[in-house]
């Protein structure tokens, strides 16, 4: 059973910022604070709403602190930087302002995982989920396509809660239909009677789909779940899904320590779900050059590796 794949030629960050642009045109309280980071869609924002756009320079602590003061005074602030700098660089600032003071800042990190493939290790983000998860009150979104990213732009614009939104840098195919309800937190994109379910997030959902499409045996064909809201996880509804399978494979472009695989393992354990789990992700941090697929291969999280695990 194949999944529909629609053509797409726009990266989700542009779709996301276009949507925030529309909100900002109507609502002067929407502000964007970036750490010297651009995107084509942001040029328009900066040109049309210079009063709502602040570039603090390459200073992520300053970015979060400024956002905190603005947010406390009633502004609806989005911060923006490459994922490692938006998260781990200023982690304690996020903990204090979003976690402890519950200031509803929206932190947007671009290019998680190996999104900045050939920029090398400094720009890879293979720990953001595990370090952002323990921050109290912080929601975490990880869309896999532009339709979902647009919906997350709407959800976070209206939400009074702090959030971290990890947006893939590359152009990814569209999976969801326009108008999909994204309040559930995850979607079972493909059901299966084959006994195996792949749970993934962000760009790796596409790897899971590609692997599933290559499996010819109907008996082995896996189900696929996309977790686009990592926190709060809709564990109740997810538990109902997991009960239908014998085996779950978690797939992430992220360290195994505390990532999506850990989250699903915790859910399985906490809810006494009789299912075997295989975690696919980075056991240790390694990197290679030559493109994202090459790095994924080196890490054992590419399509072929997923097929191998499904067929085991």
């Amino acid at each position: 059973m194949g999944l529909p794949k629609m053509n797409n030629n726009v990266a989700m960050r542009n779709i996301f910022w276009d949507r925030i642009y529309e909100h900002a045109r109507q609502d002067k309280n929407v502000m964007l604070v970036c750490a010297d980071m651009g995107a084509p869609a942001l040029d328009k924002f900066r040109r049309d709403m210079p009063d709502q756009y602040i570039n603090v320079g390459i200073a992520e602590h300053s970015m979060v602190a400024l956002a905190a003061g603005l947010t406390r005074e009633g502004k609806n602030v989005y911060t923006y930087a490459i994922a490692p700098f938006a998260t781990s660089r200023c982690h304690e600032f996020i903990k204090l302002n979003c976690g402890l003071m519950k200031l509803p800042i929206k932190i947007v990190g671009i290019g998680p995982g190996f999104g900045y493939e050939d920029s090398g290790p400094t720009h890879h983000t293979t720990e953001d989920i595990s370090i952002m998860r323990p921050i109290p009150n912080l929601e975490i979104y990880s869309p896999c396509d532009s339709v979902c990213a647009t919906a997350i732009a709407d959800l976070t614009y209206k939400s009074g809660k702090p959030a971290y939104i990890r947006l893939d840098r590359q152009i990814l195919p569209i999976i969801y239909k326009e108008g999909t309800d994204f309040t559930k937190g995850f979607e079972e994109l493909k059901k299966s009677n084959g006994g195996t379910l792949i749970v993934s997030t962000g760009n790796m959902v596409h790897v899971a789909i590609e692997a599933a499409n290559k499996i010819t045996s109907e008996d082995l064909s896996p189900g696929i779940v996309d977790i686009y809201r990592i926190k709060p996880l809709n564990s109740e509804a997810l538990t109902d899904v997991l009960f239908n399978y014998n085996r779950v494979i978690t797939l992430e472009e992220h360290m195994l320590d505390g990532g999506l695989g850990s989250l699903i393992a915790e859910t399985i354990m906490d809810n006494d779900i009789p299912v075997i789990q295989r975690r696919m992700g980075l056991r240790d941090y390694i990197y290679a050059y030559g493109g994202r697929k090459n790095i994924q291969k080196a890490c054992g999280i590419d399509v072929d590796s997923v097929i191998k695990v499904i067929e085991q």
Partner: protein
């Protein structure tokens, strides 16, 4: 004509005398209040057996001037009043002096002080934003100035005329985030932002100049586009003078007042003793420390200021009037 001139001169003279007397009275009131707040803070920390006494005592005059000296525009009955001046205590370890100042100004009942750091208490060692009058949770350093940027910028965006005051520790300025923020404040032309540096010269272990040197601090701020003013942070006159144009400044340059202070001011045996950071007097030290504080009160006549009673804390007043008898 001569008579008219004489009477004008006379009136002027009377006014000058009256004004000077009023100013002197105000200073006396503030000095007494500073002593009272030191007393209340010390007692609270002795009872709780914790709290940053010395970090609080270097900032007493600054806080007394801001709150009791009416530099800040405030409404204790409505702590979230939209037009209040925002005061951010970035050196959150000095929470004891802010808590006592806030209760003295009517933000919450004095009896809350007795619950400092207890199981059913309202607050602990570092500063919490859910206490009435406290704007932000602090305690980890290097946050306040950056947040102050956001608050001051929001005032401009929202066309409000409140001022944003940030009290920084000097050792806190060793955090790089302060300088990230400082260069942004001037870039954003935040002339409605006033930073005050409690320059007591010490971190936890040693003098700041022995760990990561800050001097020349005024020149550093000037180089970052700020207007620095260096004062004696225990002189009310100098504090008022340094902030007299705080409400009218409009040249696009943020103001920093570097207040030279003494860590542990008022407790001679603890002053400038690095390892007294973050501690309260223990049992064997209490008597001597209370003696030292009492000696700083103009009314004590050699008597010891008594510790306050826990049960009638809301009725507690500084016992200086008793000392006068």
């Amino acid at each position: 004509m001569y008579l008219y001139f004489l009477s004008y001169k006379c009136l002027n003279r009377v006014w000058t005398v009256l004004y000077t007397e009023m100013e002197a009275e105000k200073l006396r009131y503030l000095e007494d209040k500073a002593h009272e707040l030191r007393h209340l803070t010390l007692d609270m920390c002795i009872r709780a057996k914790t709290g940053h006494v010395t970090s609080s005592f270097s900032a007493v005059e600054i806080l007394t001037a801001l709150y009791n000296g009416k530099i800040l525009r405030k409404d204790p009955k409505n702590p979230r009043w939209e037009d209040r001046d925002r005061f951010i205590l970035s050196k959150g370890q000095a929470s004891p002096i802010l808590y006592t100042t806030l209760t003295d100004n009517g933000y919450f009942p004095k009896s809350w002080l007795r619950t400092f750091n207890t199981a059913n208490g309202h607050f602990g060692v570092h500063l919490q934003c859910d206490v009435p009058g406290v704007e932000y949770t602090t305690g980890s350093l290097g946050h306040g100035l950056g947040i102050g940027n956001g608050v001051a910028l929001a005032a401009k965006k929202n066309s409000r005329d409140y001022k944003t005051f940030v009290l920084l520790g000097d050792a806190e300025l060793q955090e790089g985030s302060c300088w990230e923020a400082a260069m942004l404040s001037s870039t954003l032309k935040l002339d409605n932002l006033i930073a005050i540096v409690d320059r007591n010269g010490y971190g936890v272990l040693c003098r700041t100049e022995e760990s990561a040197a800050l001097n020349p601090l005024d020149k550093k701020f000037a180089a970052y586009g700020w207007e620095p003013r260096v004062i004696n942070g225990h002189s009310f006159e100098e504090i008022f003078k340094s902030l007299e144009d705080a409400r009218t400044r409009n040249k696009g340059v943020p103001l920093v007042v570097i207040a030279n202070t003494i860590k542990g001011k008022g407790l001679p045996s603890w002053q400038n003793v690095a390892l007294r950071h973050g501690t309260a007097p223990t049992n064997g030290e209490v008597d001597q420390i209370i003696d030292e504080l009492s000696a700083g009160c103009r009314y004590s006549n050699g008597k010891k200021c008594p510790l306050y009673g826990f049960d009638d804390l809301d009725k507690w007043k500084c016992p200086r009037w008793d000392c006068q008898k």
